[in-house]
Symmetry: C2
Amino acid sequence: MAASCRFAFAIHIMAVLAYEDRQHQQGLTSEAIARSVNTNPVVIRRILSELKGAGLVVTHKGASGGTRLAREPRSISLDAVYRAIHGGPSFSAHPQQPDQRCPVGRKIEIVLEEVFASAEQALEHALALRTLADVLEDVSGPEVPATAAQGRTARPGSAA
Amino acid sequence: MAASCRFAFAIHIMAVLAYEDRQHQQGLTSEAIARSVNTNPVVIRRILSELKGAGLVVTHKGASGGTRLAREPRSISLDAVYRAIHGGPSFSAHPQQPDQRCPVGRKIEIVLEEVFASAEQALEHALALRTLADVLEDVSGPEVPATAAQGRTARPGSAA
DNA sequence: ACATGTGTAACCGTAGCGCTTACATATCTC
DNA sequence: GAGATATGTAAGCGCTACGGTTACACATGT
């Protein structure tokens, strides 16, 4: 199978932005994010564009511009990121209409629609249980006073 | 997005086989199934091959051969079909390793693995709530004495 | 003005999918 | 055994989506 990794990229981006928000209260350029994700800045911008459309991030153009989270990490659940990135449904129906003269083919599409919808709903519900703050904690440990974190952390994308 | 429709095909195939099992206690050829699904017999055979590998169907080669369910529809849940068809995971990780010098990039892969696993698990759990018998009921109504169904049903693939 | 960074368009190579043809193999029927 | 039937695969085609890249117009802070 091997699906698209855009969702993985999106969570990574959001995590980096959340991390930056906590550390420096400053926006990040697509180039800096791209360094952390290890891909091309345009790929990042394309995903940022979708995240922006969902109201999850805000972008500032021009010199000293960049992107920041639009809300607190605690208020951003992963299903919001999922929906922002995910264009269509995870499952796909018949490309050609099934034989309507067959009793099964006549009704299978409706049944499948229900099955797919409930599965998709369960998936999103599972993602809704985690927020970006949870991810941030897993990535960088629980939030601590700035002094305690001194010297232990680096700014995303500042390594190269 | 628009994912693969192999899962839809697989459920359709299983439903047709279950329907046939109830009506005629006889196997179906890939050609007959293909008529109901409205695709090529080889496409059906490829999916049947995976279903067979999962022990969900049994196949008989040669003249008057065909495929039948290996078990009762009631004992086949849709997540079994899903796993039989689904090669890899639904979500995909980073194609290139994230920047290990970035504190987020260093740990994001592990976090994503957890997130993806829990989402996939929720998805399969939702599918496990439905069996092939449920699908069959939705498609052809509750099981009734053969006489009551006389003249109302046709054999899958017998229309063309 | 100039440097910086976003927003897009365009293109490339790759991969997977649905579909088809073709053919070897196995099995039932006569 | 001969022929008919059906599976099991390999190989190829066209399509689509994706990740990656280059290029450039536009906006904005210094």
